[in-house]
Symmetry: none
Subunit: 242 residues, 2 copies
DNA sequence: TTTCCACTCCCCAAAAATAGCGGGGGATCC
DNA sequence: GGATCCCCCGCTATTTTTGGGGAGTGGAAA
């Protein structure tokens, strides 16, 4: 049983996925995965309102640009469905009843996306949200069999794609921030859960003035303009948890 | 090759995990998984300051209650590390340099948690955050070999545990997390990046009063006590990104 | 040992946020 | 066609937060 690093078997593809180092390699791998699983398309992309984020896949260019131009992101039931769920979703179990959704679906089929689809939502730090989708043209039974058989693998592939994308994508620099003192953490946390300064001070059994000093200190360390900003920064840097 | 539904082999455990229907079953499975992988402890739990959220695992009761009592959540480097990362983390690669962190570590070892650990961060909709951790007492080399060998399986197990927990936990219903309007999102986002109300209003080209209405509306929808609370909630539910 | 830093406390004036009242136009869904 | 929601604007008043000072303790590091 040879383990061929550059092969196209399941294990070889997984191994290459775990060691990929460039976006081009990921693009190549996504095409190999498409062939391996014999589906029409596979696509991995980030989702946010900016729209200009990372993505790779096998969708026709025409469809991708049409999708962006028309702002389909806002009406795509797949995106809506994935955003609200944790587990992978089969496209046919989504709500396609809206008029906009049906138009979108027709448009997608006309662009050769396929009538069947399966999407895995993925979430990372700082509110990152991405999707890994496969689509094809086949019967409901065949698609169910396929997704049932490869479910576990697909979750892993989606996971690795996101991991690589996070590693390779610039603009995600760790933003080295000065550590907060325990008291500062407590102060910001209490403010983050809705306490007023007076309440927070009472909870910590210190004077409100002292609490204020902590907040000011934390604000300075975090480079924040005001309390709200400081709490927001501490939250998004994982310094506090609410 | 018999597929034994009630067995304790890898495939059997995975199958049971995918079909579990009660929290008790999950607790039983986590113990079987611990035996299967021959580690000291496995634990799956949600992370937020309420503390009273779902969790199951094999940690001694004494340690769990001590952890909660002392608010270790706020100083646990594993939590901090997982919160900022997407990929699984080996405990020994975290920052244990702080005094509080070292005390925590000593306390943990004294409670029999083990010197080695591996944690997988998991994120769900509405800002849900959970961790799946394994810990044991062994050499660095043995632990590296173990995690390297079972990495993929562990990611899947963590994924399934979270899926089941989300399905089984009733507490996710009462807070459907009413969606914010686009304007409300913009308003909270600007406040989150440090703008004052006046600046935010000017940026959005609306009157400060109108901006105020959005903030109040968002605060109401989020059940927040004040602006800072609203921004914090919106952030931790993934409604805004800064 | 001295020099940091975290922690604690206090005053005051200015700025910001909150709370309440009122008004109107437009879209969409039932 | 009415209900509901989003989008915009006006006013006044009160409370809270903020930013600028200054001052003392203890412990840890250099």
């Amino acid at each position: 049983m040879g383990y061929v690093e550059q092969g196209t078997g399941r294990d070889a593809l997984f191994g290459r996925l775990e060691t990929a180092e460039t976006p081009e390699e990921l693009q190549q791998l996504i095409e190999l995965l498409r062939d391996h699983y014999s589906v029409d398309h596979i696509v991995y992309h980030w989702v946010n309102s900016n729209g200009d984020q990372y993505g790779c896949g096998t969708y026709p260019k025409a469809w991708v640009s049409r999708y962006l131009e028309r702002g389909y992101l806002r009406i795509d039931p797949v995106v809506q469905g994935c955003y609200q769920r944790f587990h992978p979703v089969d496209w046919k179990r989504l709500d396609w009843s809206g008029k906009a959704a049906r138009n979108f679906q027709r448009d997608a089929v006309e662009h050769g996306i396929g009538n069947q689809g399966y999407s895995i939502p993925i979430r990372g730090p700082n509110g990152q949200f991405a999707m890994f989708s496969l689509s094809s043209n086949c019967s409901d039974e065949d698609w169910d069999t396929f997704t049932e058989e490869h479910r576990r693998d697909l979750i892993l592939v989606a996971h690795y794609f996101n991991q690589k994308a996070l590693e390779l994508e610039p603009g995600r620099k760790p933003e080295p921030s000065q550590a907060l003192s325990p008291r500062e953490v407590e102060a910001l946390t209490l403010l983050g859960v809705g306490y007023s300064r007076a309440q927070a001070a009472e909870t910590l059994s210190i004077s409100e003035h002292t609490l204020r000093v902590y907040i000011e200190s934390a604000r300075f360390k975090l480079g924040a303009m005001n309390t709200t900003h400081a709490v927001a920064r501490a939250l998004s840097r994982g310094l506090i948890v609410i």
